[in-house]
């Protein structure tokens, strides 16, 4: 579904990612781990087109997306839940969700209903401005909003930041169920339990390079991860 | 020999419409003089050139421009036009002994010293008296006055004018103000209309004048409208349909177009020459610049010197009849002198709008005081 070859990206004169290659299978799920500042978010931005590729190739669904605009990528099905929520603060919850389904025109009733079923808090607060929600509530909104776009590849950049344990459980359930519907997932996560629950394959980034890669279950329990990632 | 004469006029900026013509007139005159072999002063032939100091009608810019002219060894200055600039350059000019200024534009109070600064343009009082004469001659009983409060000359003489109107037995029913660039005068006009004056006097620039005239009519003012402003028909027409101007009277010192209409030969000559060179009409203020040029050069010839103090002395002793080529028919002071305390005295009159332009009222005659 998504294949990234020898990608390099960065900010101004600072190159953050060097020579990254990652594959996400159709309906597959990949977790990306790594210490702070490893370049995980940068990777997400490069995939969704917010940052230009300096080198390498991004192929999605058989099409070369390397130079495509963010909007084109969204229309192709690559949808990101950005790090740090990024809701539209002065718009209501409902409007935020409407924007989620921007590429499809007005949101379909069932899509909305699904989002509200998943996170009832959003239904309760549908007319509250998103900026007035608590941190965790905003995070849930960001997630629901991304689902509204009916992605074929969902990029999640630390979606559990600031979520309570129960909410993380809900998110895990949701992710597992949308994967079951055939959506591919690329998940950046610090929370290993979620990573384990959702991921099939795992990559570990370190200072902008792929340090380790392998089946998630294996990798996450290996000593190598403990050494490179947990800092023990 | 070369002789550079300086000018302070706004050739750029919003006032350039007025300033540019003056600058062009001076250049035209200098060129013609050079074509005739230059200006003969005491046996030496001087080739004239005009150095333009663009003041953009702003005080600080004007001072810088004057300083630049002075460092370029210029000792004679025409201008300024803008009343913001005239007082700002005054302290510098007052202090200078080898600098001579002839104001051809500003009518501000207190900018002429009669020693090394002279003015060929009228003073504000001349403007005001033109209106006053009109009011008394036409037996107007009551009048309301609207003044552009950013116009130095008009504002500073406003009180004097009000007093003299009352003294002449005309009732002042209201005094209102506006500002250049304003576009809505309805509040003032509503008030003034309610005070029911026979006449409404507008003091400022034609752009606003036309708008006020238009809006006064829309608000139902039926009395006589009297302008007190230099108002070339081209500008007036651009702001108001000519039909709505019918019957408006303008009382000011006579200017270029007026002299052309009265067939004053020098005016016709300038009109023709200017049109030939620049392709358009010279506009109102050209007459002042033209006359300033001739007055200065004649004074130089009379003094036989191009030293400013000598020329200044010649100016104080100059008679109206001494200067050839004048357009404006200056009224001589005692002994036929052109200046008194540095101020010349151009005659004023009223013109009435008819059809597409100002017309001299029937029977209007000009008393010729100069060689023409």
């Amino acid at each position: 579904m998504l294949s990234i070859e020898n990608l390099a990206a960065g900010y101004d004169r600072l190159e953050v990612l060097h020579d990254i290659s990652i594959k996400v299978e159709e309906a597959g799920s990949v977790v990306v781990l790594g210490p702070n500042g490893a370049g995980k978010s940068t990777l997400c931005r490069a995939i969704s087109g917010l940052l230009p590729c300096r080198h390498g190739k991004i192929v999605f669904d058989g099409k070369d997306m390397t130079g495509a605009s963010p909007a084109d990528r969204v229309r192709a099905g690559i949808v990101q839940v950005p790090e740090g929520r990024q809701v539209f603060p002065d718009m209501t919850v409902l409007e935020n969700l409407r924007l989620g389904s921007w590429i499809h025109g007005e949101p379909k009733g069932p899509d909305l209903q699904k989002a509200f079923d998943l996170f009832p808090r959003l239904a309760e607060r549908r007319n509250q401005n998103a900026g007035l929600m608590s941190g965790g509530e905003q995070q849930l909104l960001a997630l629901a909003r991304a689902m509204m776009a009916r992605p074929s590849l969902l990029l999640l950049d630390e979606p559990t930041q600031g979520l309570s344990p129960v909410a993380i459980e809900q998110v895990a359930t949701a992710l597992i169920s949308i994967r079951a519907q055939g959506v591919s997932i690329l998940l950046v996560e610090q929370n290993l339990s979620l990573a384990e629950a959702v991921g099939e394959r795992a990559y570990v980034l370190e200072t902008g390079r792929c340090a380790l890669e392998g089946p998630a279950a294996e990798l996450l329990s290996s000593d190598a991860v403990a050494a490179s990632y947990l800092g023990h | 020999e070369n002789l550079t004469l300086g000018e302070l006029h706004p050739v750029t900026g919003p006032a350039s419409f007025y300033g540019l013509v003056m600058s062009q007139t001076l250049k035209l005159r200098a060129e013609q003089t050079n074509e005739k072999g230059g200006l003969d002063v005491g046996g030496t032939k001087y080739t004239l050139s005009i150095a333009t100091g663009d003041d953009q009608a702003q005080a600080t810019k004007g001072v810088a421009a004057l300083r630049k002219l002075m460092t370029d060894d210029v000792h004679f200055i025409f201008g300024p036009l803008a009343s913001a600039v005239a007082p700002a350059v005054k302290p510098i000019i007052d202090k200078q002994t080898d600098l001579l200024q002839i104001i051809d534009g500003s009518i501000a109070d207190g900018v002429v010293n009669g020693k090394n600064s002279f003015r060929v343009q009228a003073s504000a009082d001349t403007y005001n008296n033109a209106v006053l004469n009109y009011l008394t001659e036409n037996k107007v009983k009551s009048v309301a006055v609207m003044t552009d409060r950013s116009h130095q000359g008009f504002v500073m003489s406003e009180k004097r004018m009000g007093e003299s109107i009352e003294k002449a037995g005309v009732k002042v029913t209201g005094l209102e103000h506006f500002q250049i660039g304003d576009t809505d005068f309805s509040a003032q006009l509503t008030n003034l209309r309610a005070s029911m004056p026979d006449a409404l006097v507008l003091r400022g620039y034609p752009g606003e004048g036309a708008l006020i005239t238009k809006q006064a009519e829309a608000l139902g003012f039926k009395g006589q409208i009297v302008w007190e402003m230099g108002a070339p028909p081209s500008t007036v027409m651009k702001n108001i349909p000519s039909a709505q101007m019918d019957g408006v009277t303008n009382c000011i010192p006579r200017m270029m177009a007026d002299y052309v209409r009265l067939n004053v030969p020098n005016a016709l000559k300038l009109q023709e020459e200017f049109k030939k060179k620049y392709g358009e009409d010279p506009g109102e203020n050209a007459s002042f610049s033209n006359d300033a040029f001739w007055i200065l050069t004649t004074a130089m010839q009379k003094a036989g010197s191009i030293k400013a103090p000598d020329v200044a002395k010649a100016l104080t002793e100059m008679k109206v009849t001494d200067v050839p080529n004048l357009i404006i028919q200056y009224q001589p002071y005692e002994n036929g002198l052109l200046f008194k305390d540095g101020q010349a005295n151009p005659p004023s009159a009223c013109q009435v709008w008819k059809g597409e332009s100002w017309q001299n009222p029937p029977g209007d005659k000009i008393e010729m005081t100069t060689k023409n």
């Binding site: 969704s48 087109g49 917010l50 605009s69 963010p70 909007a71 969204v74 229309r75 949808v79 990101q80 950005p82 990024q86 809701v87 539209f88 603060p89 002065d90 718009m91 409007e95 409407r98 924007l99 989620g100 921007w102 590429i103 025109g105 007005e106 401005n129 900026g131 909003r145 776009a149 | 900026g13 919003p14 006032a15 350039s16 419409f17 409060r149 209102e176 103000h177 506006f178 500002q179 660039g181 576009t183 809505d184 309805s186 509040a187 003032q188 509503t190 008030n191 309610a194 752009g207 036309a210 708008l211 829309a218 608000l219 139902g220 081209s234 500008t235 651009k238 702001n239 108001i240 349909p241």
Partner: protein
């Protein structure tokens, strides 16, 4: 004097509607893109000048208005692409200087083409409605109607259209808007186009009652900023109400206090409004998180 009040209020409404019309486009661009678009005054001037030129060449006024307004749209989009897009992340103040510079350049271009002298297109709708209490020009009534129509138009675009949703999204979070699949470039162009359209339209209409000259936009744009703030930034309704408030205030001060103190009175009231309501009449306080 009180018997003149109806007339003065009508005067104020007429003046206010011209202010509001100019402020509307500015509010849109400022509210959405946070760009202090000083050249909005020049767009206004160009709307008037283009109309003048077209009418001078014999075109019917009502045909000239839409053509001139559309021509201004092109200039508006150019302004953005040349002067703002490059420095969009450079902070508000560099945008402001850029705006001032472009204002100057446009004024000068207009001076070089048409000269500094004022022009007017003759009013296409002369005539005055006279009642027992007040009189008002038909054309002023038309402008009043145009103002309300423009406000409705912008309101519908912003709050009832998909484009509007995207415009608001962009104004709140550019990055997230991109992630929704919104093409920022086009939204930006659309915003500027609408802003310029209204600016040009305002100039085109008002040019038939006011003199047209290169710096004619200066005063209106300053007033428009004042209105923007009185109403509350980004609030369309505020722009309309602010425009009328300012118009009526100016008239009342000038009528009942002194025409010499017109500006002092008006701006003193502005100062008081802001002291009492630091975010304008309809502005909301910023949320602190």
């Amino acid at each position: 004097m009180l018997e003149l009040l109806p007339q003065q209020l009508v005067n104020g409404l007429a003046l206010g509607s011209s202010y509001a019309l100019i402020a509307l486009g500015l509010t849109l661009v400022f509210g959405v893109l946070q760009i202090p678009n000083f050249p909005h005054g020049e767009l206004y001037m160009l709307g008037a000048s283009f109309t003048y030129v077209l009418v001078a060449y014999g075109m019917n006024f009502w045909v000239a208005v839409p053509i001139a307004s559309l021509a201004v749209v092109i200039v508006g989009i150019l302004l953005d692409q040349v002067g703002y897009r490059r420095i969009d992340t450079g902070g508000n103040l560099s945008l402001m200087i850029s705006a001032l510079a472009m204002s100057t350049v446009l004024q000068q271009v207009a001076t070089l083409i048409w000269g500094a002298e004022p022009h007017t297109t003759l009013s296409p709708l002369p005539g005055v409605l006279r009642t027992a209490y007040f009189s008002i020009g038909y054309y002023q009534m038309l402008i009043f109607a145009a103002t309300i129509a423009c406000w409705l138009f912008v309101w519908v675009v912003l709050h009832r259209s998909r484009l509007g949703l995207a415009i608001r999204a962009m104004s709140q979070n550019k990055m997230a808007a991109q992630l929704m699949g919104i093409d920022l470039i086009w939204i930006r162009i659309a915003t500027f186009a609408i802003g310029a359209l209204i600016g040009g339209f305002a100039g085109s209409l008002l040019g038939a009652s006011f003199p047209i000259y290169p710096t004619m936009g200066l005063n209106p744009v300053l007033k428009a900023f004042v209105i923007l703030v009185i109403g509350g930034v980004g609030n369309l309704w505020g722009a309309i109400v602010g425009g009328f408030v300012l118009g009526i205030l100016e008239i009342l001060v000038s009528a009942y206090i002194s025409s010499q103190l017109q500006d002092i009175g008006t701006f003193a009231v502005l100062v008081i409004v802001l002291i009492v309501r630091p975010n304008g009449l309809f502005g909301r306080a910023e949320v602190l998180r």
